[in-house]
């Protein structure tokens, strides 16, 4: 009986798990698409929560289901490769799917480069302004790295939101670690890392910045090119609790100091 209880606990535990799902699709035109969805409801019924996403040819079919398991919003994301010489490029467009509910207007078709990362806003809460994005990256023969993941639905922070980095430990996979015991707080802060230059984080957009960072609790995850970095802090990075998109700018060889709150990280083996 004890064994039955243990198995039951293992089975039901995912009910309280995360709200994100990742897919990898190989399209007919040779492109690899890393597709990431967030759901506003629990994983108790994952199909209802996330709907479905599947690929056929050069099309990704996406449906969100209602309580009766019928699509209440459905669309086709067409990812067509532009033919001809020159670098690989794609055109994105959206079409209705199966006569189900669609957006009031189609998005403007968009040309993207090989390996580009794209956010598409799908749902919103009018009373709170919260949005849910589908995120995807499209590429052929290039390193792929989708947006950092989060346990809850990431949101864009309000203007002036403070970023607090305290006692950071920076990891890039298993190959690099740098640390500091310092604290920096501001709407923009910088981390200077040996051999990696300077990373500037901002809670609002700006020239040279990319919205490719997510802060959740005391963890700050961000992209720089094809690389995923993680900064583990001793306190929450952005308040209130939740997952928050942030902007990041990388300067491999910074020319001058910025005047922003800065932390100089050190490689532990060299600090001893």
């Amino acid at each position: 009986m004890i064994r039955v209880l243990i198995v039951a606990l293992i089975v039901v535990w995912p009910l309280a798990a995360q709200q994100m799902r990742n897919y990898a699709f190989h399209l007919g035109n040779g492109a690899l698409v890393l597709y990431q969805t967030y759901s506003p409801v629990s994983m108790a019924d994952s199909e209802k929560a996330f709907g479905t996403a599947s690929a056929s040819g050069n099309v990704i079919q996406r449906t969100l289901l209602d309580d009766n398991r019928r699509p209440w919003l459905a669309y086709e994301l067409h990812i067509d490769r532009i033919s001809g010489p020159g670098p690989v490029r794609f055109v994105l467009s959206l079409q209705p799917l199966g006569g189900w509910k669609f957006f009031q207007q189609k998005p403007v078709p968009r040309e993207i480069a090989n390996g580009d990362r794209v956010l598409m806003d799908v749902l919103e809460q009018p009373d709170t302004g919260r949005k849910i994005f589908d995120t995807f990256q499209v590429g052929i023969g290039v390193p792929m790295q989708i947006m950092p993941t989060a346990g809850t639905i990431p949101q864009v922070p309000h203007a002036g939101a403070l970023i607090r980095v305290s006692g950071p430990q920076l990891h890039q996979g298993d190959t690099f670690t740098a640390v500091s015991r310092e604290v920096a707080t501001g709407t923009q802060i910088t981390l200077t890392v040996p051999e990696n230059g300077r990373f500037t984080f901002s809670s609002q957009p700006g020239p040279g910045f990319r919205m490719e960072a997510i802060a959740e609790g005391s963890l700050l995850r961000f992209l720089s090119g094809q690389y995923l970095f993680q900064v583990l802090c001793t306190e929450p990075v952005v308040e209130p609790a939740g997952a928050w998109y942030l902007w990041v700018k990388h300067e491999a060889a910074p020319l001058a100091k910025t005047g922003l709150p800065n932390i100089d990280l050190v490689i532990p083996s060299r600090a001893q």
Binding site: M1, I2, R3, V4, L5, A8, V12, W13, L15, A16, Q19, P40, V41, S42, M43, A44, L64, D66, W72, L73, L92, L94, F103, Q104, Q105, K106, P107, V108, R110, I112, A113, G115, D116, R117, V118, L119, M120, D121, V122, L123, E124, Q125, P126, D127, T128, R130, K131, I132, F133, M147, T152, V156, P205, F209, R210, M211, E212, A241, Y245, W247
Partner: protein
């Protein structure tokens, strides 16, 4: 069945024969050996062997399901109640974040 089993003489001997009684202290020695073997098993193995009444197990499984269900994000007050509070964006946009675009 073998021929020996059907031997009337052997059957007679078998019904009349009484096994000798166990030696003195046999019961205590067996009990001590059982206790010794039981203690030698790992604690986890003995724990797995605990007998729990079926109603208690059923109640525990039900409690586990209810606990997980109500811990799910759907029921957390800080989380949106569900899809009903969300609406489709009137006109979505393709925001190419790797080219520096923003929502």
């Amino acid at each position: 069945m073998t021929d020996e089993d059907r031997d009337p003489e052997l059957d007679y001997v078998r019904t009349e024969w009484d096994a000798p009684p166990p030696s003195a202290g046999f019961h205590n020695r067996m009990l001590a050996a059982y206790t010794r073997e039981g203690n030698a098993a790992g604690w986890w193995r003995r724990w797995l062997g605990v007998r729990v009444p079926m109603p208690v197990t059923a109640a525990a499984v039900l409690m586990a399901f209810l606990l997980a269900w109500f811990m799910a994000p759907h029921f957390r007050r800080s989380e949106p109640a569900g899809l009903a509070r969300y609406q489709p964006i009137p006109q979505p946009r393709f925001i190419v974040v790797s080219q520096g675009e923003n929502p």
